[in-house]
Point group: C2
């Protein structure tokens, strides 16, 4: 595939987001600074501030028309979500968020009142996570965008990376998954019906209130890692779910050089998510594995250590196994007993939905 | 002025960028965290990492069509400049840049090779400033954009704010000013002529090589603050020039509750800048005061302390005086002897150029 303007050059779609990130990492080279504990490899970068403490730093951008649609994303939720997705990356290092900067791109059709509403959502998120926005930047822009950076703190020994998974670990997921994608499906259908002005369409979103909220204002799982700190629990590996459970388990396997066996019946799925998928005539397991934007945590831990955790807060969805096939590190035993290889973005013989709108 | 879509709401142009920032600061409230030394008030936020050391954190975004035009901005320079403008904010706190994250928005007409070229420019800047890009984010976007955050380090006692200017201080500027704006004028004229395909137009940019370089790849003044550290010099107040000397001196005056007296003949202007202004039939003092994007430093210091500095590195352009009139804190004595009030964006009786393209 080639770009139209530059036929001799490579289109981004050809190498994909992860290919691009690998290429840019090579271009920049490895940091030579020995205070840098971890660079472009995990949910957030890690650097030492003294003999014991580290800071983690992450950045994430939400772009109108790519990550959200203003037609159904209330601006207050947008502010809340934009901070949450960054806090989720800090939490996924087992670190506590402290400081944030916000760079907002403002198109001409956005008023002062609308910008203020976004910042009210940001403030709510700051209060929820006990952190502060300490700086930022405002710019004219073609579409609304929010680019946020968050600094978190942790003891160096407490930081958990993707790369620590060990054979025999249980693979666990907090909360439930697939609900954000179910919410997106409902919102997209609603927008379509409103646009078509179907005469008999009376929007009633009550039956979908949970999945819609999960899509519009997902909280980061800060409370979970605070509970772990209180009881002295620490997973071997940890990542948050932005791209879908399957993609995240693949990241853990690649970083840790292990395989994974998942079990479809064990996937934690809310009844509302299940009902929504049924209504759309779709497989709810696809929502759970590939939907993304759940901002729950995936972690691996020895079975014995799990006893200390509150059983209400997580589900065991599989286990870490020896890596047998580099190209197919992850398998899932389906409800019918069949054990099939899983790809980051879909079953080998299933179509996966696109997490993009 | 009202936005078209929301006639009851306030357009951003009505309150301006600084009005918006003040409003957002009110919306967020002051940080209650006692590790936060300085929030949304200066070039960068400041927070403590231990009893002696602080980190500073800043973020800045360059947006295609707003901050740069791909028609004349080589992508390698874009990468260099995007990091430099952030490093300049760190330097303006008298701190040293250490770590950066880059969030890049990539439109469909940008190839892998073009993105890599931008990152080569970022890497050059990292080498120039002895720092590292430790993380980032890639996004699909409607226009090319680079949102960068930089963390810097300093002893808490060494940080210099806008607010420390004292009556009697000399007002000093490093390097020369107005050249970036002169370079922009030449580049815009060149683009226009190329678009019009004037038959007799043979672009010769050699006579403008300095001013063009100043616009496309301005360096941050890290060396200056390193020299100060070596000799133990520390200004009372410090800011970098992104919006033009006049705007920055106004910021210092407002933060420090002082006035300023500037002298037009003392403004450091390169001959190439002067020639360019003459060629365009414009007043070079307007370029120097309001052009912006010079990324030089403005600092105030007692005259006695200046003796320790290398006289090649700065020019005295005025002095800090008692604040007499809140609405007109800054005056400039023009070359003809007349002493006139200065506004942040223009003389009272002069038209100022727009720093936007």
């Amino acid at each position: 595939m080639e770009t139209q303007e530059h036929p001799d050059q490579t289109a981004l779609a050809e190498i994909g987001e992860f290919g691009l990130i690998a290429l840019l990492r090579d271009t920049l080279g490895e940091p030579t600074d020995d205070t840098v504990v971890s660079g472009i490899a995990d949910d957030a970068a890690v650097y030492r501030v003294d003999d014991e403490r580290v800071h983690v730093l992450t950045t994430d951008t939400l772009v109108e028309g790519v990550h959200f649609d203003r037609a159904f994303m209330p601006l207050e939720h947008l502010g809340f979500k934009a901070l949450s997705v960054n806090v989720s990356d800090v939490v996924a290092m087992n670190a506590s968020p402290r400081y944030a900067t916000v760079s907002i791109g403002i198109p001409q059709n956005i008023s002062v009142e609308m910008v203020t509403t976004i910042y009210e959502g940001l403030k709510q998120a700051c209060e929820a996570y006990d952190m502060h926005i300490v700086g930022g930047d405002t710019n004219a822009s073609h579409g609304l965008s929010l680019s946020i950076s968050v600094v978190g703190t942790a003891d160096e020994d407490d930081v958990v990376y993707r790369e620590g998974a060990q054979v025999g670990d249980k693979i666990c997921v907090t909360g439930d998954i697939g609900s954000s994608y179910a919410g997106l499906k409902v919102l997209l259908r609603n927008r379509e019906r409103l646009q078509e002005q179907e005469e008999d369409f009376e929007p009633n979103l009550d039956p979908y209130s949970y999945v819609i909220r999960r899509h519009l204002a997902p909280p980061a799982q800060l409370k979970i890692i605070q509970d772990w700190a209180d009881i002295g629990a620490q997973p071997h590996s940890l990542i948050d779910i932005s791209d879908g459970l399957s993609a995240e388990v693949h990241h853990i396997c690649e970083a840790s050089a292990v395989g994974a066996q998942l079990y479809e019946p064990a996937l934690p799925i809310d009844p509302e998510t299940r009902n929504t998928a049924t209504e759309f005539g779709e497989d709810v397991t696809v929502y759970a594995l590939f939907g993304g934007e759940d901002y729950e945590l995936v972690f691996t831990m020895p079975e014995d250590d799990l006893d200390a955790l509150d059983p209400q807060t997580y589900s065991v969805v599989g286990e870490v196994v020896e890596l047998e096939d580099d190209d197919q590190p992850v398998k899932i035993q389906r409800a019918n007993g069949e054990n099939v290889p899983l790809q980051p973005g879909g079953f080998d013989h299933f179509d996966s939905p696109s997490p993009q709108q």
